[in-house]
């Protein structure tokens, strides 16, 4: 049991190090959400005066989007890292060892989840320095961290699945485009009551909307009720679906 735990922990440790190396590559993961935050909160500040807009400032409204984007960014390269392991043969090196093969995937997913939680913590400090005020207290913040952990693992699951199915770095690089519909067709720009038509329907169908609203509900409004519970439910369902797909594709590749 001790040996098994040691194996899982060293794989987790390696997965985490892989996700933050080279260190310079982590910088854009913060620059992009900060860029979105600074530009959008300045460009759309008059939106806050629209009837039906429930926040005093657009900066407050947009801060959770920056946090969400940081989760996307910090977990988005998992597939590419895995394809690198496959193409360099390092995955084979791990397969040659007497280790439960599920540890290899699960430790990586957990490492990415933890990395996203740390990114979210750092982003929160940035946003605070930029003038965002947070509500919801310690409990609310811990809830958001758990939500980030689940969603980051779910998002990483998409990349992992693509990595195992295609084993192709170019496809993984192109899969970055998924980020746009998932992050933009949400309530990131405007609250749901100000949206209309097909766009509103698309926003309601996007699972990320519910995760964003849960973060917004806790951190900006200080509420931990229905919206947060719904956010957790959607995050768990989303993660279950993508992780099942990634584990299935891993099994399919390994057992060839």
């Amino acid at each position: 049991m001790k040996a098994e735990l040691a194996k899982f922990l060293i794989l987790f440790n390696r997965g985490f190090k892989q996700a933050i190396r080279p260190y310079m590559a982590v910088v854009p993961e913060f620059l992009i959400p900060i860029f979105y935050f600074v530009v959008n909160s300045a460009a759309f500040q008059k939106v806050a005066s629209l009837p039906g807009f429930d926040q005093a400032s657009y900066l407050q409204f947009y801060a959770p989007v920056a946090l969400l984007v940081s989760i996307f960014m910090s977990s988005g390269s998992t597939g590419l890292e895995t394809v690198t392991d496959i193409s360099t043969g390092f995955m084979d090196r791990m397969f040659l060892a007497p280790v439960n093969r599920w540890y290899i995937v699960l430790s990586k997913l957990l490492a990415v989840g933890v990395k996203s939680v740390i990114s979210l913590l750092i982003m929160t400090i940035f946003l605070f320095l930029f003038g965002t005020s947070f509500h919801g207290g310690i409990v609310g913040f811990i809830l958001v961290l758990f939500l980030a952990l689940i969603f980051a693992m779910g998002w990483a699951g998409i990349g992992l699945s693509l990595a195992f199915i295609t084993k192709n770095p170019r496809i993984l690089q192109s899969s970055y485009v998924f980020f746009f519909p998932f992050s933009f067709i949400t309530t990131s720009q405007l609250p749901l009551n100000l949206l209309s038509g097909w766009y509103k329907t698309a926003v309601q169908l996007n699972p990320v909307t519910y995760i964003l609203e849960a973060i917004r509900s806790v951190l900006i409004r200080g509420e931990t009720g229905y919206t947060v519970a719904l956010g957790f439910l959607v995050a768990i369902l989303f993660a279950t679906a993508t992780l099942s797909l990634s584990l299935w594709s891993f099994k399919r590749s390994v057992l060839k």
Binding site: R14, R21, I86, T88, D92, L96, P98, K256
Partner: protein, 268 residues
């Protein structure tokens, strides 16, 4: 003439019976191969590119599931006792199979822990191997900054870290300078003398001639000749190169091209 071997299971490190690998679209990479390797033997597996050497080696090391046939490694049966097999073998693959954004030591710590070695064992074995292969000074540097030869040697360190009973080597000295190659040869000889069974594929006939007690020549997925290199050379009164050309019909650099055959290294 295709080779068939009557296998004596006692003192056999590797026993292969009618091993085949058929890829999708009915591509037969390895076809009904049978041979055995004695404990402590230095065995060479030679063949042109695409002959089935790497596929065979990957099946023997549990990385690839055979389509049919039976394999026993150190007395453990493939497909049933894979973890025991993994504990008892080392494999230095054709490419470099290291974590490039980690140091040599980090690679050793990771792989050593997966083999359930203690930190002390990893450090002791690691230091010895690093010294031997002249990698002590770079052990704390990220592997991506190593030269090709250094990466290859570090790969060998990783394969040997847990002191395996059988060592599989797929082109271990490819890309090494003559001095490093000679040093690796001497080390392998010494390792073999101490009792490690070595299964080697190589493109260098000189290497096979110098190191191997016995060689098998594989062509188009089938073993076409097997024996002691000295006897094989005597048989045709030529070099091992000549033996190779005689039994495969082409020189070592030529390839058997099958467009449908997947690259065995991009097949986890």
């Amino acid at each position: 003439m295709l080779y068939s071997v009557h296998m004596l299971k006692e003192n056999q490190a590797i026993v292969v019976e009618n091993l085949s690998k058929v890829y999708p679209k009915n591509v037969r990479a390895v076809s009904d191969v049978s041979f055995s390797v004695k404990e402590g033997e230095f065995f060479g597996f030679l063949g042109p590119n695409g002959a089935g050497k790497t596929t065979t080696m990957r099946m023997l090391s549990t990385l690839l599931k055979p389509s049919s046939g039976k394999v026993s490694i150190n007395g453990y049966e493939i497909g049933k006792q894979d973890d025991w097999i993994r504990c008892s073998i080392g494999f230095a693959m054709q490419g470099v199979t290291l974590d490039l954004t980690a140091s040599g030591w980090e690679n050793m710590m990771l792989i050593g822990t997966l083999y359930e070695l203690s930190k002390k064992e990893i450090e002791e074995n690691g230091k010895k191997l690093l010294k031997l292969l002249d990698l002590e000074k770079v052990a704390s540097v990220w592997v991506k900054n190593y030269s090709g030869g250094m990466k290859k040697k570090m790969d060998l360190v990783i394969a040997l870290l847990h002191s395996p009973k059988i060592l599989f080597l797929d082109e271990p000295t490819e890309g090494l300078d003559p001095v490093s190659r000679r040093r690796v040869w001497d080390y392998l000889k010494e390792l073999n003398k101490k009792g490690t069974t070595i299964f080697l594929t190589t493109h260098y006939m000189q290497e096979a001639d110098y190191l191997c007690d016995r060689v098998a020549i594989i062509d188009r997925g089938q073993i076409v000749k097997m024996g002691d290199p000295q006897e094989l050379k005597k048989e045709i009164n030529g070099s091992l190169d000549d033996v190779f050309i005689k039994y495969t019909g082409h020189s070592i650099g030529e390839e058997n091209i099958n467009k449908n055959a997947p690259d065995p290294y991009i097949n986890i």
